[in-house]
Amino acid sequence: MISPEAQARLEQFKAMPIDGQALKKLVEAGLTWLRANQQTVNALNVFPVPDGDTGTNMVLTMQSAWAEIDNLGHRNVGQMAAAVSQGALMGARGNSGVILSQLWRGFARALHNQENLDGPGLVRAFAEARDTAYKGVVRPVEGTILTVAKDVASAAKYALAETQDPFEILERVVPAADASVEHTPELLPVLKQAGVVDSGGKGLFYILEGMLRYVYGQPLDTPLATVQPLSAMNLENTLESIEPGQDFEVVVDFVPSGSLDLQKFYGELETMGTSIQVGEGEGMYRMHIHVPTENRYHPIDYVMTLGTITKVAMENLLAQMDAVGQKASPDSIELANVEPGQIAVVAVSPGRGIARVFASLGVAAIVEGGQTMNPSTQEILSAFENLPTDKVIILPNNKNIILAAQAAKDVTVKNVHIVPSRTIPQGLAAMMQFNPAGDAEAVAAKMGKSLGDVTSGEITTATRTVEIDGVSVEKGQVIALMNGKLVLSAAAVEEACMGFLDKAEAASHELITLFYGEDLAQSEAARLVDVIRAAYPSQEIELQYGGQPHYQLIISVE
């Protein structure tokens, strides 16, 4: 039951039409509430691997939609929805982001040329959103954001029997979305196994709930007062979205002297800065915040009143941003020159070493990204839009990037083929078939056929304790994935690597190629090669610097 104040505000809203400006407010509310709950969505991760975080991907997608409409004065709801759709599409990251952008696309299509949004219009829009999203996925899987979108559309349709008012329909849709999310583990066994609900569905729920909270006049950003496990704090990626006024990053570790009042803690911090995250582990708390220069000591002074500070780290983000900008300049990567009429390949690469290898094989453009950082549709698009040819082949090299590549294909006038490589070794195998002067369709088909030529291995450290595919994993253990499936856990990289090679039947293959990541020293990688050589004397073994984050090794067996 809602409060009398909320009921009063709802009545107020019902008196006004939902025009373009009202939709804008709702979108902003959905984004704000999703962002407030971003970490909760991120934590719903099935595999214990460092992953492209769904919450972050969906927030960035919505943020791009918001950036598109922020300054738009349209009163026409159809035009506003079209702009939301366009922005979401260009910023779509990860599978969930792409599906979210498809939802908006369908939503906008149903509202084409509409002045205002009424109840039947909303029901139509939810239905069209559902249909468009299902069509945007090659093999729709139930128990995901798609199911939630479907249940939302049904709930809206049933609500129409009781009310014509769009807000009252929204009131009925939000609990239905919640129930649908809770039901996802029954539909998708991997969720049940991992003991989580679907993250994309949860994200969609937060967007809808945020809209309703806005209507009720409930706060949208403060209840972000959550504490995450220390290990789950992802402070690296916060750099990507620095806005003006976020000059310094301050991280303070402390042990509170009493119990910490989180609501009050967050409230105080919010007066100082943004991007607040709080983590806890074994009684120690870590606070993360971005603040303007003049406030840089305030969080430290404040935390000091709450307990004992054990460590303070402060970084100048502006200087760091400059450094990131410089690092991105392709100093030693020599990309292939494409001539008009030739085929250009765009490859997604998680590490500098891997990017160099792709470049050496004739790739014309590299998009930085991978498992932990899914590039947006816009980033993929920008990579090839200025190339002097119309023929483009995209190698996503990750299953979470295939849809964003597809979205990039859908918005460009260029002739784009996607070779759905799911791993780096698959992408490299495809490049073996590449011929820039060939017929694009035939070349892409050949490249696609070659994806099965290799067995892919990935060695990483488990981010949490779980049992998946019959393999028990303790957080912190080293795990091996074979062709994307978890196959074993081990105490150390060497054991995981040798175990993988055994499972991949390396003894009956010819060539083992290892790409070592930024977390593995070259000397350790070289030592590992000696161990492998001793065990596989008749195989050729090649060691390359990959430079990928989180994954100590990416291995190709062929």
Partner: protein
Amino acid sequence: MKISLVTDSTSDISAELCAEHGIEIIPAILNLGDESYQDGNGLTREEFYQRLPSLPVPPTTAAPSVGSFLERYERLFTAGASQILSFHPSERLSGIFNSARLAAEHFGERVRVIDSGQITLGMGFQVLAAAEAIARGALLENILGLVEGIKQRVRVVALLDTMTYLRRSGRVSWAKAVVGELLNIKPLVELRFGIVERLAQVRTRSQGIQRLTDALHSWGPLERLAILHTNAEGDARQLLEELKPRLPIPPLIVNVTTVIGTHVGPNGLGLAAVPAPGG
């Protein structure tokens, strides 16, 4: 009218076949450090390929002098030839064609220098077909037509064990373009009309051999076939065993001349084939 045939050592026609058909071979030149060899003399192919990877200075190749062509043509005319056909690799690949052309200018129409567009048996088969036609008493125009037909149909593909030698040769533009290549890649190349094209690249030898046999099967019925290698006779024999059931003709097995091998590297494997017309 007596028609005589001249070619150079890059045609890879064996001494026995040359003797049988009266084909004259001008040796190309291989420079190994301070030593200079006439192709086929003083250094066996086996020995050369064994030494190639460890040579401190890469060997170089050179066209035979204009004088050596002049001398040979002169000798053939003295021996009664009325027409000479002189077959050589494309100008794009070697200076041999030019040496021959400069020498031929002294004899006017009596020496026809033919750009075979090929090397090794891709060229050798053109010469052998001409020899057989001469033996049948064919007319010059018919011989030239026959040779042109083979030049159009002949296929030469090779699996290189490494890019290193081809890149070093400086003869192939795309090989230079991928100079930053990091992975160990085995390119599959085809020579057509004097241009080395990259068909594919593979990372394991068995994938490459599979590609070779796939290519062969795509050519349809064959008139002639040679299995080429650079000191990989074992692989060549194995390939022969695999192909045998589908071959109407016994192929030649040829350890390729050092002058070509310098640019290909050891352990290469290839095919030269003449598909039947209309195939």
